[in-house]
């Protein structure tokens, strides 16, 4: 045989050695090193977030306030765009050729293989036309999503709006939100964001080497479903709300109506309002700027963020706290010579009331009476005036004044009442007396309260001494859960027995001929109310009316605040009356001419150009903050007015 026969073994050895080398390497790659399975998944898997539908908000009777409406985004995959009728497509989407080229280029720069958004938020009607021809536009596809829709265009400030998240939202959420997500930005949408947004789902999308989608990983085994957000049942009465908004048309101001027995808010109007549908869809950006630049500031949430001196309606609180403090009783009589002139204090009444008791003081809104009450509260209690003032102030805070009430809306302000220390500082000494700030006695001076607090005072009176925190949402999710803080009964610090004389006075305001609210009396329903007029340095006075009805077992407590409307009984009274009757009886018996006057009333201020510019600048800054500052500024100006000018 061949002499080199044994070399066969060497060759075989080399073959086997190489095979073992390969196997060893495979063992390392496939068994030991686990990073490759991860890399393979990274290659092929894209976690796609499936957005849940936001929760729907209903009114107290189950009618829809906000729901979701389908819209369509048009996506484009630039590489697949071939031989399409560009002009026709532009016509369908209502864009021009340059815009088309611009968008296509942007998409191509992003990725030629991946679908990116070409057009956002097409409504169903526009999309239907486009869809008919979709097959002719290769590379284009539609992606359905939902946006908010408000069928009756009401309750904008109450419901709020959603917007794309901003950098600070993303930071705050620890990465929960991603750029492009939507978040509740105001109103209920914001305060209930975490419940209403639902739970996102994750879809494990597989993609090929060019990032083109290629089906679902493991047939969806590792996918999670999106869970729709909790539905909310609000306390709002839709019909009442619609009427209230109609009544406040072309007027500035607020309406808040509360069901006293529960603290549920029945009506919540901030005027001027806006159509909440403006804040969704393709025109949102333009609309938002328009609203932001409107000198009447429709985005300002007046019922909770505006702060005004309450004016004469404050006398109700003054009468109640004074009785509780024991400085007066229903029989206490002060003589009104047409004004309060004590120790240099000058506070005029519009007419001479003569000897006045508690009931009459409310009925006639006697400034003199409350001057004496305030003097007794501060100067005759055997302690120093600042200490007595602190007690007086504490009484007010128990009525929910001076601090936010805790409504379920973002941006609530607490109004403001000076502390004793602030006065001591202001007057430069602790030896000040009631005469130094006598205007506090009648709800002017350094007292600012929000329309919500005003309505809440009425709820306390209606309940004869207690309240529930006013709130907008009475049921969360399927189980209709109410937040715990809204089931807590709060005592206002004044015993029930002290309410009757005050209520009697309020009843006479409306129901006795000659009362300041007699013109808005509702036949057959005993409404108890109180008018107020707040001096306004800029123009017409602000009109206030608050009331509750019926007197026995009250169902509604309401506060109406109309800016620049003049005398309280003229504008605010009829509005409160109409709403109360509508709510209690589902009809309005107020004379037709009175109703028409309200519907057609135009009380928007003539805006000076200069003022507008200032407000525009302000609006560029964080709006809620600015609003507050302006409110305070306004308040300060109002404080300057002479007490003598105050009318009841």
């Amino acid at each position: 045989m061949n002499s080199f026969f044994e070399r066969k073994y060497i060759i075989q050895g080399i073959f086997i050695a190489i095979a073992l080398l390969i196997i060893a390497r495979l063992f390392y790659l496939q068994i030991i090193d686990n990073s490759y399975i991860l890399s393979a998944n990274n290659n092929v898997l894209r976690k796609v977030i499936v957005y849940p539908a936001r929760g729907v908000v209903l009114d107290r009777h189950g009618q829809v306030l906000v729901q979701n409406e389908p819209v369509y985004d048009i996506l484009v995959t630039p590489r697949e765009v071939k031989n399409i009728d560009t002009l026709f497509l532009c016509q369908l989407l209502d864009i021009n050729k340059e815009e088309f080229d611009k968008r296509l280029k942007k998409a191509r720069d992003h990725s030629p293989y991946r679908a990116s958004t070409f057009e956002k938020l097409l409504d169903v009607k526009t999309f239907a036309k486009f869809q008919e021809h979709l097959d002719k536009f290769s590379g284009f596809q539609a992606q359905p999503r939902t946006i908010r829709h408000y069928p009756d265009s009401i309750a904008a400030h109450f419901l709020g709006y959603i917007q794309e998240v901003q950098e600070k939202d993303i930071e705050k959420s620890n990465g929960f939100y991603r750029s492009g997500d939507y978040i509740g930005a105001s109103g209920v949408e914001r305060s209930y964001e975490e419940l209403i947004r639902g739970t996102r789902g994750i879809k494990n999308q597989m993609v090929d080497a060019f990032s083109r989608p290629k089906g679902i990983f493991m047939d969806g085994k590792y996918d999670t479903l999106a869970v729709s957000g909790d539905g909310l049942v609000s306390s709002l009465d839709k019909n009442l709300q619609m009427l209230a908004e109609k009544l406040m048309k072309n007027k500035l101001g607020s309406i808040v109506a509360i069901e006293p027995a529960t603290g549920e808010i029945l009506t919540y109007v901030s005027s001027p309002g806006y159509d909440p549908n403006m804040m969704v869809g393709r025109q949102r950006g333009n609309n938002y700027m328009k609203l932001l630049n409107d000198p009447n500031r429709p985005l300002f949430n007046r019922p909770i963020a505006a702060s005004y001196p309450p004016g004469s309606v404050f006398k109700v609180v003054a009468a109640l706290t004074a009785q509780q403090a024991g400085v007066i009783n229903p029989q206490t009589v002060f003589n009104c010579p047409g004004g309060y002139y004590v120790n240099g204090a000058r506070m005029r009444c519009t007419h001479v009331d003569g000897p006045t008791d508690l009931i009459k003081s409310i009925q006639k809104s006697c400034n003199t009476y409350y001057g004496y009450v305030y003097a007794r509260m501060l100067d005759s209690r055997g302690i120093s005036t600042p200490e007595a003032y602190s007690l007086w102030r504490e009484g007010l805070t128990k009525f929910g004044l001076g601090n936010p009430l805790g409504i379920d809306l973002p941006g609530e302000k607490g109004g403001g009442i000076y502390t004793a220390e602030q006065y001591t500082k202001k007057f430069g000494s602790a030896k000040w007396k009631s005469t130094y700030n006598i205007s506090n006695s009648i709800g002017q001076g350094e007292i600012g309260i929000t329309p919500l607090q005003m309505a809440n005072i009425m709820a306390i009176v209606a309940n004869r001494g207690f309240y529930y925190r006013p709130h907008l949402i009475k049921g969360i999710g399927e189980k209709q859960i109410v937040k715990k803080e809204y089931t807590e009964k709060l005592f206002a610090g004044v015993d029930a027995k002290h309410y009757e004389p005050v209520i009697e006075g309020m009843s006479r305001v409306v129901n006795m001929p000659g009362g300041t609210g007699y013109s808005v009396k509702i036949n057959g329903i005993e409404m108890c109310g109180k008018t107020g007029t707040v001096q306004n340095a800029h123009g017409e006075n602000h009109a206030v009316f608050f009331a509750f009805a019926p007197r026995v077992n009250p169902k509604i407590a309401i506060a109406v605040f109309v800016e620049n409307a003049g005398y309280g009984g003229t504008w605010a009274g009829p509005i409160a009356s109409m709403l109360t009757e509508q709510y209690l009886r589902d009809t309005i018996t107020l004379p037709k001419h009175l109703q028409d006057r309200i519907y057609n009333g135009y009380l928007l201020p003539k805006v000076e150009k200069k003022k507008e510019e200032v407000k525009k600048e302000d609006n560029k800054i964080d709006s809620s903050k600015t609003n507050n500052q302006i409110a305070i500024a306004n308040k300060k100006k109002e404080l300057v007015v002479h007490h003598s000018q105050i009318v009841r």
Binding site: N2, R7, I11, F15, I16, I22, R25, Y36, I37, A40
Partner: protein, 424 residues
Amino acid sequence: MNNQNNSFFGRIDWITIALWLALCIIGLFNIHAAVFNPEHPGLFNMETNYGKQSIYIFTAIIIGFSILIIDQRFFISAAPIIYFIVVLLLITVLIVGRNVGGNQAWIPIGSFRLQPSEFAKLATCLLLAVYLNSQSSKTPNMQSLLIGCCIVLFPVFLVMLQPDTGSALAFFSLIFVFYREGYVSTKFMVFGGLAIVLFVLALLVPNEWILIISLTLIATISIYLNRQKRKHIINISVLFLASIIYVLSVDFVYENVLQSHQRNRIDIILGKMDDPRGQGYNLNQSKIAIGSGQLFGKGYLQGTQTKYNFVPEQSTDFIFCTIGEEWGFVGSVTLIGIYIFLLLRIINIAERQRTTFARVYAYGVASILFFHFFINIGMTIGIVPVIGIPLPFISYGGSSLWSFTILLFLLLRFDSARKGINQN
């Protein structure tokens, strides 16, 4: 011995045929997986690589069995003519060839593309066997070696002109034939192996001075240990100097002779370049595919790397990725097992031949198959540079399948006739 298994079919090595068929079918299934499109999962489509490969396999069976019927002496006498025709084709391809992926390697014939370099290996093997057989009466000498080398290197030269480096390198595997026949010594093989290792090191070590200093150190220690034996000292010194010159020239070749894509591939395989999205993409994706297969694989048609085209050229050069991903370590080792079994079987056949011709030819077949096996799988798992050569019987491609089939079946034909040749 005379009358046992004397019938024609009884003398055919059916084990080899079974292994061959197994590899073809494994290939077919994995080509199907590689081209499988989940959106159009039709089982059989003549337009896909899968459909075409079925026809190639069918044709290969016909070709294979035709060879078994033809008299083996025809091939022996036709060897120079076959060699001549292949050389003509290699020249033709340079003139009329289709350029695919930078290589002018294909002659289009209708819808089919002929790759002459695949057939060149076969023709070279055959002619080399005929030539070395004619020299078998003498002891191995330098003249025979040189002529033998010329037979091998002439087609290498033509293939390099395409330039198809991968196919050209395959011819060098025939060194095993020369080694087995005694034309080169074991020492030469050892030095050759060392040269390859040094070559890799020269490229891997960023500064050649480190390598030169290391070599100097090793040489100094060796001389010190052998300080009593003068002859050894001279040998070591010569070897040392040769190594230094070699390392320096490797750098020169690397910088000035290799083409840039080859340089990049070497860089990547040596880990000098980390560029998973550029040149390293193929290798990286290939390793991800195989590595993610783990022990049992993802299952047939379930490989995401394969299905979604992350691995390029996955039905041809990177077919092993599909096997690694979908069949895992178990499947890969099984395939390697079948291959090694086939290679050892061929060596077994080679050693039972009575003629130098058949033995040389058999070793030629084993060498070429081994080279393809090692380089192809090695490149997919990152132990050899990415060189574009097919995995025999498994990669998609008619030229490749037919040429390897003819290569193997000629051997079976010669094997089945070994007694006849002996009697003549």
